[in-house]
């Protein structure tokens, strides 16, 4: 903690990006900064709102050499950024040295990683002597997709603000929440993960045991800060402890609940033609060791052993899955059945007899 233990006295904090580095696309800067704030909001009751004019609590700028705060930057290398602890005026402000080469990758200086560190100062954290902490004073690259705060970082920030309150969960967020008792509720993606079923919807994630009525909900970003919201398809290869998540033309691998390095990858590396821009739903069949990918009214089959698409695909969904309508929102495999989600409807489909065996009530989540 900083001397005098400065903290923000409120939980809704505004920030403004005063100017942009020419090293990156402005939208990439916006994304890196937003994700960096999200890292801290995930573990505290704090919320951050971007404003585009006027004075924000945290003003963010890129500057070279002397820039009006008596702490001039020193050219490329050396000092790469600094920030001021919570307070009025310059308090909380974060400055990045424009002499560095700012990037969203491992090249140059990764803006997201430095922003997480500097915003830690903006919230009242000092430097950590733990080399694993993001608040360690020197910069070293770690994959943003696998990045997570250290225990020291979390203990530090929670000693100032406490942990995330229940209000971070859907019931009191900014109006985009889903009502899990809505009879018309549809899901973006559903998959088993170990002994649980994960349901993805917008930026939320519910999970429950297949045989239990109890469910829990969280933000996708709370579990995996670097993953996007709006996951469109998901499937699990249980024997490998692998879960694949899809959004648009990208997919991520989660292994043992941790996002893996070298992802996201492009879906076309799986063998899809260029005309496929996104996957609607996916499911792994452990009996065949093959994965079905559903795109519009067609499906592909991927051999997980050979890592190639099976020849002869795509095929029409309605022809090979009798009773299932042409487009599929989500599907998961459990106990020799597929569970297809189409809008508010769910179909239990026997993988051996190839027919619909049940139409469970929509109220798949407890309390509905």
């Amino acid at each position: 903690r900083m001397q005098g233990r400065p903290v923000w006295k409120k939980h809704l904090i505004t920030y403004r990006i005063n100017n942009y580095t020419p090293d990156m696309q402005p939208e990439d800067v916006d994304y890196a900064i937003q994700k960096a704030f999200q890292v801290w909001s995930n573990v505290t009751p704090l919320k951050f709102r971007k404003v585009n004019s006027g004075e924000a609590d945290i003003m963010i700028l890129f500057a070279s050499r002397a820039h009006g705060d008596f702490s001039p930057f020193d050219g490329r290398g050396g000092i790469i950024a600094h920030a001021f602890g919570p307070g009025p005026g310059i308090g909380g402000d974060t400055h990045f040295d424009e002499a560095e080469i700012w990037t969203k990758t491992y090249k140059g200086t990764n803006l997201f990683l430095v922003a997480v560190h500097e915003l830690g100062h903006s919230l009242g954290l000092g430097h950590s002597s733990d080399p694993k902490a993001i608040m360690f004073p020197t910069y070293s690259y770690v994959n943003p997709n696998t990045f997570h705060l250290s225990a020291d970082d979390i203990q530090g920030i929670q000693s100032l603000y406490g942990g995330p309150g229940k209000h971070q969960l859907p019931s009191n967020t900014d109006g985009t929440e889903s009502d899990n008792c809505d009879s018309n509720l549809s899901f973006d993606a559903v998959t088993t993960v170990g002994d649980k079923i994960f349901f993805f919807k917008d930026r939320f994630l519910w999970w429950r045991h297949p045989e239990s009525p109890k469910n829990s909900v969280t933000l996708i970003s709370s579990l995996w800060p670097t993953l996007p919201s709006g996951i469109q398809a998901a499937y699990e290869i249980g024997a490998r402890n692998q879960v694949f998540l899809f959004k648009d033309d990208k997919y991520w691998l989660i292994s043992n609940m941790r996002p893996q390095p070298h992802y996201p990858k492009n879906i076309h590396s799986l063998g899809f033609p260029d005309s496929v821009k996104k996957i609607d739903a996916a499911v792994f069949n452990p009996l065949l060791y093959k994965t079905y990918f559903f795109v519009d009214n067609q499906f592909w089959r991927y051999d997980e052993k050979t890592q190639f698409m099976d020849p002869g695909y795509p095929k029409l969904i309605t022809k090979y899955f009798p009773g299932i309508r042409p487009t599929i929102d989500a599907v998961y495999y459990y106990n020799r059945h597929y569970y297809f989600f189409q809008g508010p409807d769910i179909f239990e489909y026997d993988v051996i007899s190839h027919r619909i065996t049940k139409r469970p009530k929509q109220n798949i989540m407890s309390g509905c």
């Binding site: 001397q3 050396g78 000092i79 790469i80 600094h82 100062h121 080399p131 360690f136 004073p137 020197t138």
Partner: protein, 85 residues
């Protein structure tokens, strides 16, 4: 030529280290009377030790290679310990 380079390099390292310790560990070179250079030397050694301890280096009090390497790494401009409790 190698001897001269070596001396210059040592001076540069020391100057760089002094500035680093001033910036991040509250080392104040100017306030120490020149007559007490011995004390100054110890004070700088103390500050090097403080830095080495904080950053998880081997605590030698000397400007060894790993300490100088750490001093040359890109870093945040805030002091490591001076302003913090």
């Amino acid at each position: 030529v190698p001897l001269t380079n070596s001396i210059n390099s040592e001076e540069n390292n020391e100057t760089y280290a002094q500035r680093y310790l001033e910036n991040f560990y509250g080392f104040v070179m100017d306030r120490i009377p020149k007559a007490k250079m011995g004390v100054n030397g110890n004070f700088m050694e103390d500050k090097i030790q403080e830095m080495q301890k904080f950053l998880g280096l081997k605590v030698t009090g000397k400007l060894d290679a790993s300490t100088l390497d750490m001093m040359h790494m890109p870093r945040c401009g805030l002091p490591d310990v001076h302003h913090f409790s």
